[in-house]
Symmetry: C2
Subunit: 206 residues, 2 copies
Amino acid sequence: MEFSSKLLEQAVEEISQLPGIGKRTALRLALHLLKLPTENTSRLTKALEQLKEKVKLCASCYNISDAPICYICSNPKRDKSTICVVEDIRDVMAIENTGQFRGLYHVLGGKISPIEGVGPQDLYIEALMDRIKQGEIKELIFALSSTMEGDTTNFYIYRKVQDFDLKVSTIARGISVGDELEYADEVTLGRSIMDRVLFERTLKKD
Amino acid sequence: MEFSSKLLEQAVEEISQLPGIGKRTALRLALHLLKLPTENTSRLTKALEQLKEKVKLCASCYNISDAPICYICSNPKRDKSTICVVEDIRDVMAIENTGQFRGLYHVLGGKISPIEGVGPQDLYIEALMDRIKQGEIKELIFALSSTMEGDTTNFYIYRKVQDFDLKVSTIARGISVGDELEYADEVTLGRSIMDRVLFERTLKKD
């Protein structure tokens, strides 16, 4: 791509550094910003700068938060004895959207992945151990994605918490609500049969 | 989407204002920026601000430019008697990439579109007329997309330049190089037959 403007080229270069955005999309976005009033661009750049400067991680669960302790951890109505272990903040948002979980979270910030050079020390696992050592926690729910990395991370944490009096569970795997059995993969279908639940449980809403 | 951080929510809100970027993608981009060193975000925001503050339109052809006159208009080797009329700067880049055009451009900044409320006065048509009145221009090449809006714009300009001693042409429409005839639409195939060129012309490279 040959640009008639160095400034445009720089902007396109920077925008295309973002994941999933190529040079063409970056150019489209840059030209779009050029057409808009200056306030719009200022609002965008200010929001990004503020995000970068002021957003913190919750000192307890490592969720993203504006305050030192996030709104979930500081909510007195939440059940402080149950911790759901997730990979990142998007998982917290997804689970919160279901309205089915009243415990607290622990955001690891990733999964153990030797291929990508992510070891246990790169995740907030020690911080989780510190929370467990305080003795208030009774159950740990693993809600990582069921990939090799997710399973490795689950197992690593599982081994570390063996000496504590802790129930360790993992979210149920099975056929999605509304899915056809014939299109389900066999691992999922197999687990949904193994982990079958009493029919009455599906009848009562809590 | 429920956010644990107002700042994150604001950033996502602003990013998702960009065309083709939804809330989910915006969240992914915001979390990506949070993970990167602050310099990266600063570089991005600075590039966007500079773009908005300093980029100008070429006073002659309305191409985007850092200087008052763009590098194409100010190049003494370009043929100043031929003007290619295009919709926006991306078309200039596309034609420049072919290396087949040595004339100058005129960027209209859009097409006449009553539906979107774009009239002739919203485009740089008067500026094109001013260039033509100076008498140096011998040929006008229309290179707008062949939509109803493009055709309307072409025709509008065509009527305005009738009184000038000017050759008016339009880029050739036809089957793309490498395309199969059977999959071509009939309008394009029809025009490619009507506008057939002497075989010898396809043999010589210039």
